[in-house]
Each structure stands twice: as structure tokens, then as C-alpha cells.
């Protein structure tokens, strides 16, 4: 028996009325993994992320982190345990500057956020760390701009920056390249590839260039259940996966 994986689900189930959005999902995410979750529209990929982050409570099954049962741990505390996510549709503080967006996340993590006295801008440690982070994503030149003024592709990077500001051990990326023109999607791909090795990354995306270039392991979800799991080569060659999801784009 190997040691417990970083994040694991056992028989995880979630029903929405008569619809089973997650059916007995057994899933393992190892430390430092590069894992992709693909599947047809409505297969329950985002629901799975919502289950992992605690936005949605499972109907049955357990979620373990390093072997510890975190099924009942609320969302905010899971963030403290190191689970961070990005959203399929940008959820940014649109009227704030790029720096302020990341500042809010970093301030929350280092425990500066409850402070009422010192002006936010004088927390040099938080500002420095936020700027460093923006710099690694090549966003520092835009730091002073309002998020809503940035092109959509760069806004997607801010999504990632906010999540990284939480120093996650597990990063869940829900369609990070959604809405980004193909000419710019390499910016996202580069950023995702440069993520620190020690972070385990689970990525959902329909851009197969991105998925096959990035992932070391792929799980295919269909109708809420795990349909197949394997290396990109295995998944790409799987005729059933081609039929339900990949179509002609798959590579052997």
C-alpha cells in the first residue's frame, strides 16, 4: 500500500433532485500531479470541483486530504488547508486594481485581513508578495490598472494569480483558457506550465492542445461517473473516449 494521496475521493456522490451530477467518484490526486479532468458538457466536472472545494456538499462519500477526512470542513477552512481554485467565468473584483485583487487573497492568507488600523498599502509584506506573484505571471506592468480594463486573456491570468496568492498545495483550474482567443491562449498555457512543481494541479479544459501538452494523467468524466483514467497516450487512443468526447482531435 502506498502512502495516502494528497487529495482523494471515495464513492463521492451528489444528487441534484433526480440528476446524479456525481456518481460514486473514486479519484486520487498525488502531490505535484499534473492531472486533467475532461468530459462532455454537463458531465459534472464543475460540480466535482465544487465538491472538492466545499461549495457543494456531497450526498454520500468522503473527501480525504493526506488521509484526513475533510468532507465536513467548510469552504474557507479548506482554503487554509491548501485547496484553491479558479472559476470558469471570471470572478474578479472588477473595479479594483490588479494589485488589489491579489492583495486581498494574500492578506487573507497571511492573516492581515482582519486588521483595522494600519492602511492596507502600508502592509509592505503583503504588497511585495503580491507584486512578486504578479511579476512571475508577467502581470506586473498591468498591476495599477483596473481589472475590468484588461483584455480577457490577462483577466484569466489574474484569476490564477489570486489562487496562487493563497499558496495552495492543490490548485483546481476550471477552464483557465475559456474565453481566451487561440492567439493568446499560449499565455495561459505558459503560466500553467510554469506553476511551481510542488503544487498539485487539476485542470478542466476543452482545449485539447492545452490538456494533452500539460497533463501527465487524464480522467474522463461522463454523466457524473469516471469513464476512464490513464496517461494522455492511453486516453487519446481510447476509442470510447474518442466517441463520447474527443472526436477527431485525439492523438494516438
Amino acid at each position: 500500500m502506498t502512502s495516502a494521496p494528497l487529495l482523494e475521493t471515495r464513492a463521492l456522490r451528489r444528487n441534484f433532485g433526480a440528476l446524479a451530477a456525481a456518481r460514486d467518484i473514486d479519484f486520487r490526486l498525488e502531490a505535484g500531479a499534473r492531472h486533467a479532468l475532461i468530459g462532455p458538457n454537463g458531465a459534472g466536472k464543475t460540480t466535482f470541483i465544487n465538491l472538492l472545494t466545499g461549495v457543494v456538499r456531497p450526498t454520500a462519500g468522503v473527501i480525504l486530504m493526506n488521509g484526513r477526512d475533510i468532507t465536513a470542513v467548510p469552504e474557507a477552512e479548506r482554503v487554509k488547508l491548501g485547496i484553491a481554485r479558479t472559476f470558469q467565468i471570471n470572478r474578479l473584483f472588477r473595479r479594483l486594481s490588479v494589485l488589489e485583487n491579489v492583495y486581498i487573497a494574500v492578506a487573507e492568507r497571511v492573516g492581515a485581513a482582519p486588521s483595522m488600523r494600519r492602511p492596507a498599502g502600508l502592509r509592505r509584506d503583503v504588497v511585495e508578495e503580491s507584486m512578486e506573484l504578479l511579476d512571475t505571471l508577467k502581470l506586473s506592468a498591468d498591476a495599477a490598472r483596473r481589472v475590468s480594463e484588461l483584455p480577457y486573456g490577462r483577466q484569466r491570468l489574474v484569476e490564477i494569480a489570486i489562487a496562487l496568492g493563497l499558496e495552495p498545495r492543490v490548485l483546481l483550474l476550471d477552464e483557465p483558457a475559456a474565453g481566451v482567443p487561440s492567439a493568446e491562449s499560449h499565455i495561459i498555457l505558459d503560466a500553467v506550465e510554469r506553476l511551481p512543481r510542488q503544487i498539485a494541479v487539476l485542470i478542466i479544459d476543452h482545449d485539447m492542445d492545452l490538456v494533452f501538452r500539460f497533463a501527465q494523467r487524464i480522467t474522463v468524466l461522463v454523466s457524473g461517473a469516471v469513464f476512464a483514467t490513464g496517461s494522455p497516450r492511453e486516453i487519446g487512443a481510447n476509442p470510447d473516449v474518442r466517441a463520447v468526447y474527443l472526436g477527431q482531435v485525439a492523438r494516438g
Binding site: 441534484f16 440528476l19 475532461i38 468530459g39 462532455p40 458538457n41 454537463g42 458531465a43 459534472g44 466536472k45 464543475t46 470558469q88 467565468i89 483584455p151 480577457y152 486573456g153 477552464e175 475559456a178 474565453g179 481566451v180 482567443p181 487561440s182 492567439a183 493568446e184 499560449h186 476543452h206 485539447m208 466517441a243 463520447v244 468526447y245 474527443l246 472526436g247 477527431q248 482531435v249
Partner: protein
């Protein structure tokens, strides 16, 4: 051939901000085009201007030779323009069935035909729009526009968020529609591969202007020129 849609010397934007500058574009009846270009160059604004969602600073939009200047938004939709907006704009509290029935008009597109294209929708007829996944909402938005049986279909990034098999199916259907020439499609698309394969004619936009208007094949064959036009860094 009759002109289905024409934009003449259009300058438009939001409030005082001008996004489109002196845009000229004519589409014949039954002709389809793709519009590509970087983010924020005015592709969405172009469609929004046809729909009447922007501030027109100059120029004229005509539909079948008739000026749209004084035609309010809802009448533009009724006069045969179908619109698939980027934000999908489905009705979250209505069911899938109700979403599809809103604005539906008789014509070659029926619910059965739409469900052949998007089986997900047929399976979830009684679910509320808000319960659909992102990709399913996109399907719903496209299906709703098709069921109005438009003469001109404006689509803003319809393949966004769809599974590759669905993108293929949709691209095939769009290509067939374009080839049949029964309606005109203006396809704004981020994915230049899909765009260039879709129609014989492609328009490239940059900084609010049209910088290329010609054969798709010529662009597809000249990767360097394409890269320059849509700005791959």
C-alpha cells in the same frame, strides 16, 4: 445577388468611447463569413452594432437594403436577425423548453432538428436554464437562435466551452448551412482553425478596423501573414 447585410462607414462604440472606426462590410444573401482578430479589437462590438446595442457615431447599417437606423432592437430580432451573444444570455429561471419557445418561429429549424444537434438539450427539457453546465448553456443559446429561423445569424464565439466532439458537430452543421446558402452567418470565432474552415470569406479586425477581407484559403495557406494579422506573439 441581393445584399443581406451591409455596414457603411460605421463608427460606433459605447457612449463617448469609439470602438469601430469607418467599418465597411457587405454580405450577400446566403453568404457566410468568419470574423477573427485579437481580443478587444471590436468583433463583439461589430455584432452588437448590427443588433443596435451600441452608440452609433456615424454610418449606416442596412438589412436587405433597408436602413436599420430607426429600427429598435426587438424589431431587428423580429426582422430575421438571430443572435448568439458571447455571454449566452439564456433565461436562468425558465426551463430549457421555455427558453427554446421564446421567440421561436416556424421554418426549417424545429425542436427535433435542434435536439439531433444537441442531444443534451433534449434530455434536460424540464431543467431550469441555471441548472445547465456552462457548455450546455452555450448549446441552449445557439439552439434558441436557430429556432427563430433567422435570415442572418450572428454568432459570437459559439464554440466556447463546448466539448471537442460537439465543436466538430456544430462546425459541420454551420459549414453545411453556409454551403446551402439558405441563410447568412456571421461567425465571430477565437479559434482561427474553426473560422478559416467555416467559410470561404474571412474578415480580420484590428483596433476597430477591418484589416483583411478576402479568401479564407489565402490566409490559411499563409501562416506568417495570419500570425501577423491576429498577432500571435
Amino acid at each position: 445577388m441581393a445584399e443581406a447585410l451591409a455596414l457603411r462607414h460605421i463608427s460606433a462604440g459605447y457612449g463617448d468611447t469609439v470602438v469601430l472606426e469607418d467599418v465597411n462590410l457587405a454580405i450577400q444573401a446566403g453568404e457566410s463569413i468568419s470574423v477573427i482578430g485579437r481580443n478587444g479589437v471590436g468583433k463583439t462590438t461589430l455584432l452588437a452594432t448590427v443588433m443596435g446595442h451600441t452608440t452609433l457615431h456615424g454610418g449606416e447599417v442596412t438589412l436587405g437594403g433597408v436602413s436599420l437606423a430607426r429600427v429598435p432592437v426587438f424589431r431587428r430580432a423580429r426582422s430575421g436577425i438571430g443572435f448568439v451573444p458571447q455571454e449566452r444570455e439564456i433565461f436562468p429561471s425558465l426551463t430549457v423548453r421555455e427558453n427554446l419557445e421564446v421567440g421561436a418561429r416556424p421554418g426549417p429549424w424545429t425542436q427535433e432538428r435542434v435536439f439531433d444537434l444537441f442531444p443534451n438539450l433534449g434530455a434536460r427539457l424540464s431543467h431550469a436554464g441555471s441548472q445547465l453546465s456552462g457548455g450546455e448553456q452555450q448549446m441552449l443559446s445557439i439552439a434558441r437562435a436557430l429556432l427563430t429561423n433567422p435570415r442572418i445569424l450572428l454568432m459570437d464565439e459559439p464554440t466556447e466551452g463546448l466539448a471537442p466532439v460537439i465543436v466538430e458537430a456544430l462546425a459541420a452543421v454551420l459549414a453545411r448551412l453556409a454551403a446551402e446558402g439558405a441563410l447568412s452567418i456571421v461567425l465571430v470565432e477565437q479559434n482561427s482553425r474553426v473560422a478559416l474552415a467555416f467559410s470561404a470569406r474571412t474578415v480580420v479586425m484590428d483596433k476597430g478596423r477591418i484589416v483583411y477581407d478576402g479568401a479564407s484559403a489565402a490566409l490559411a495557406a499563409d501562416g506568417e501573414r495570419l500570425a501577423k494579422l491576429i498577432g500571435v506573439e
